[in-house]
């Protein structure tokens, strides 16, 4: 039995309503832990005053420089003593989950037991970077909790100016749109940068995210410095039986308005069955005895829309891999940035392919470490120095896929033009 609860009239109102309540969970923990009684006391104060009361500090585990988010209370009385003394320290351990966030109940129960013994008993599944966040621990208990979590085969994630914990979608484990083995790529890339995760020494954070197709369920284009997004090079695959079944169920209005008209590049056309032709770069499928769809795959930008609507009837091609984008981030400092495409396609089928991905990541991180200013993200660095300088730095050839259009202003010196054309032609000849 823990000590008596503080009055929490504001938080009590978050126990009403049908959605699961984190306040009810905290109160359940507070039955056994003085610690959580005082966490609720401080949180109620925040609800009353509309102020936050945690400040950072330095807490870590032996051998690592990051992975623990220290929190000390700033809510003190006139003598400088914490108002809620049992919750004066409320540190978080960030722990990396398995790719795709799969768990056995056995491992979840073990993690719960550890956190009930050493921490508050509150676990966030998951934080915005993808960590299992073990929230609420005293300085004294951080190492104890970590020792037990670590021997179960789990490792701390990133914090501060470091490579951060990553996320990958469910992907090949349960999704027909998966274009590469997301879990394998996620694991091999992140586990190649453990030193950069555990010992923060970069200019600022660096995030990877792995999405299996252009639907980008991991929001990687905007939430990661290096986004690995599945795609394919060959023709969209079709299945006539499923296409006919879709058409029977949904009809012509939905076909025209929801599929054909929504193709962003008008690569998809409705044709009378007698005019339907497949072959070369064209995919075609009958929907009924009268009509069919024709897709010119040269015009298709692999947006996923038609495949999402007619899943199974249409599917990504067989020659699958990934596009790589760099520089996505949120607001501070220069404003939001989407990632920029720097590799239109790379295969990710074999260990050797994945080693090439690790090598690319290594070159990007090395360049970032050498060239970014303090607290500058990769996308901001590229904005400052220009994409071409970045590409030259990491040894990637330019490609018109990297721009939405060529420049619209004349503010550039082009006295190297002829040499550049000659160099590109020579390289193309050599490759041919």
């Amino acid at each position: 039995m823990a000590k008596k609860m503080h009055e929490t009239p504001h938080l009590d109102q978050l126990e009403n309503g049908p959605w699961p309540s984190f306040v009810t969970g905290l109160k359940r923990l507070a039955k056994d832990k003085d610690y959580v009684v005082d966490v609720l006391g401080q949180l109620e104060t925040s609800y009353k005053t509309r102020k936050g009361y945690w400040k950072g500090g330095t807490v870590s585990v032996f051998g690592y420089g990051g992975g623990v988010i220290p929190r000390f209370t700033e809510l003190k009385d006139a003598e400088g003593k914490p108002v809620y003394g049992d919750a004066a320290e409320f540190h978080t351990l960030r722990v990396m989950p398995p790719p795709g966030m799969h768990y056995s109940t056995d491992i979840l129960r073990k993690l719960c037991d550890i956190w009930e013994r050493h921490g508050s008993g509150l676990i966030a599944l998951h934080g915005q970077s993808g960590d299992i966040m073990f929230q609420g621990c005293t300085t004294e208990n951080v190492q104890k909790a970590w020792d037990e979590i670590n021997v179960l085969g789990f490792d701390l994630g990133g914090a501060g100016p470091a490579v951060r914990t990553s996320m990958s979608c469910v992907g090949a484990a349960r999704c027909e749109q998966s274009c590469y083995n997301e879990a394998a790529a996620h694991r091999v890339v992140i586990n190649s940068f453990l030193d950069e995760i555990h010992r923060p020494a970069l200019p600022y954070k660096f995030k990877f995210k792995f999405s299996g197709c252009p639907n980008d369920c991991m929001n990687s284009i905007q939430r990661s410095d290096m986004a690995v997004i599945g795609t394919w090079r060959d023709n969209i695959q079709t299945d006539e039986e499923l296409a006919r079944a879709w058409f029977t169920k949904h009809g012509m209005n939905e076909l025209v308005n929801d599929v054909v008209a929504r193709c962003p590049t008008k690569a998809i056309q409705l044709k009378e069955a007698k005019d339907l032709k497949a072959g070369g770069t064209v995919s075609a499928v009958r929907l009924s005895d009268g009509h069919g769809l024709e897709i010119d795959n040269r015009d298709c930008v692999r947006c996923m829309h038609c495949i999402n609507v007619m899943t199974g009837a249409l599917a990504p091609g067989n020659d699958r891999g990934a596009s790589i984008l760099v520089g996505g981030k949120r607001t501070l400092k220069i404003g939001d940035l989407m990632g920029t495409l720097i590799v239109p396609f790379m295969k990710l089928d074999s260990d050797e392919d994945r080693e090439k991905l690790v090598d690319l990541a290594q070159r990007i991180i090395d360049f970032f470490a050498d060239n970014a200013l303090e607290h500058e993200r990769t996308g901001e660095m590229i904005e400052r120095i220009g994409l071409v300088s970045f590409l030259e730095g990491i040894g990637i050839d330019i490609d018109p896929n990297m721009v939405s259009q060529p420049r619209t202003n004349p503010y550039v010196r082009v006295d190297g033009w002829d040499d550049e054309v000659a160099r590109i032609n020579a390289k193309a000849e050599q490759a041919a």
């Binding site: 504001h10 049908p18 959605w19 699961p20 984190f22 306040v23 969970g25 359940r28 923990l29 966490v39 609800y47 509309r50 102020k51 945690w54 950072g56 585990v61 032996f62 051998g63 795709g100 966030m101 799969h102 768990y103 109940t105 056995d106 491992i107 979840l108 129960r109 719960c112 509150l122 599944l125 929230q135 609420g136 190492q143 670590n150 085969g153 490792d155 469910v170 484990a173 349960r174 999704c175 027909e176 083995n181 879990a183 996620h186 694991r187 555990h198 252009p214 980008d216 991991m218 929801d258 962003p264 609507v309 199974g312 607001t331 400092k333 220069i334 404003g335 939001d336 989407m338 607290h375």
Partner: protein, 362 residues
């Protein structure tokens, strides 16, 4: 082992990195890894995936509070042990998924989840759980809470989570400062400070690395200064955009203000490449009060935007696709929100956000 001994022989970490997902994955997913052919949704909250091997799995998705006590997690484990061969997975939006290979288990699993207080839904064209941040519970720089805002929003959107009645999927986020850890979303709820930081000049010299703080400011409004004989920093309040970027590296530059830190609403962000390219969200309302514990003013605006989208958008239009069709004037007209001068961009690259054409919808 006594504490002194423990300190003398500390345990070196096992630098094991990311665990192998295969060790924790449901066996039906391991067996059909990379071999899935298609899926459909027999009902909201349930996905059926069909493998080329002929195997089928049903996934039942349920909402959680994200910040979970161990008792809640154990309850979810009990349910997984009973129905889902002792395996679960989580989505990016903190929904939990139970995978079953036997269709007969689907209905009793749903009943058990709902009886235990976990709403089944969040699939297809529903409003899924809000991606959110830490707020007052754990963050060191929050202007508002996160879990509480989300709880109040999801209570209101409960039926929209459990049903698939929206034109397309709806993704929401909240963020407790302008760094916006919540991320791009169809609708995002983000703190928007309205006053420059209040500086405690007694503390700046000892707490803050002044050149680093100066460098953080996006509008170069901060400069070193001697205040009352002490080295400190001053802010050109005419230039300051009240973003709060100086506050994390320099806590004596307090940006959070119970009265004047307001909430803004943004719409039309999407990360998917489907149809139009990924889009950033756009600010459409600001100045809403930070009003715990249930933020009624924020919920009113979010609800209003969602209702308008639900009635007005065509099938498969995300929020961004819908506004692209109807145009911004009609967005403001239909939602009843007020278009003000603060919504006309003047940050770098702003000209791309102005209408350089005669395209006008009358």
């Amino acid at each position: 082992m006594s504490q002194t001994q423990a300190a003398a022989t500390p345990r070196r970490p096992i630098e094991c990195g990311v665990p192998d997902a295969m060790d924790y994955m449901h066996p039906a997913l391991v067996n059909n890894f990379g071999n899935w052919q298609r899926h459909d949704r027999p009902r909201p909250g349930v996905l059926r995936h069909v493998s080329r091997s002929g195997d089928q799995v049903w996934t039942v998705r349920a909402g959680t509070q994200r910040q979970m006590d161990v008792h809640t997690i154990r309850k979810l484990c009990d349910i997984a042990d009973q129905y889902a061969e002792g395996h679960v997975r989580f989505t990016i939006r903190s929904n939990i998924e139970f995978i079953v290979a036997d269709e007969k288990k689907v209905t009793p699993l749903i009943e058990t989840l709902e009886k235990s207080g976990f709403p089944v839904g969040g699939t297809g064209n529903s409003v899924s759980m809000v991606a959110h941040t830490q707020g007052w519970l754990h963050c060191d720089i929050p202007a508002t809470d996160a879990s509480g805002v989300v709880k109040s929003m999801m209570d209101q959107l409960y039926e929209e989570f459990k049903n698939e009645e929206m034109p397309n999927r709806v993704r929401l986020s909240t963020s407790c400062c302008e760094i916006n850890c919540g991320g791009q979303a169809d609708i995002a709820v983000i703190i928007q400070h309205t006053k420059p930081p209040l500086i405690n000049h007694d503390l700046v010299a000892n707490v803050c690395e002044r050149p680093a703080v100066v460098a953080r400011c996006p509008v170069a409004a901060i400069r070193p200064a001697l205040v009352n004989g002490k080295p400190s920093l001053e802010v050109d309040e005419k230039k300051c955009v009240c973003c709060g970027a100086c506050y994390p590296p320099c806590p004596p530059m307090q940006i959070n203000d119970p009265e004047n830190s307001k909430i803004a609403i943004w719409v039309g962000g999407k990360n998917s490449n489907a149809r139009i390219k990924p889009t950033f969200m756009k600010m459409v309302a600001a100045g809403l009060p930070n009003n715990p514990p249930r933020w009624p003013e924020v919920n009113e605006v979010v609800g209003r935007i969602l209702r308008t989208y639900k009635t007005d958008a065509r099938p498969w239009e995300r929020m961004a696709d819908w506004v692209e069709r109807i145009g911004w004037p009609r967005f403001f007209e239909k939602t009843g929100l007020t278009f003000t001068k603060y919504l006309i961009d003047d940050w770098r690259g702003a000209r791309a956000n102005l209408n350089a054409s005669t395209h006008v919808r009358f």
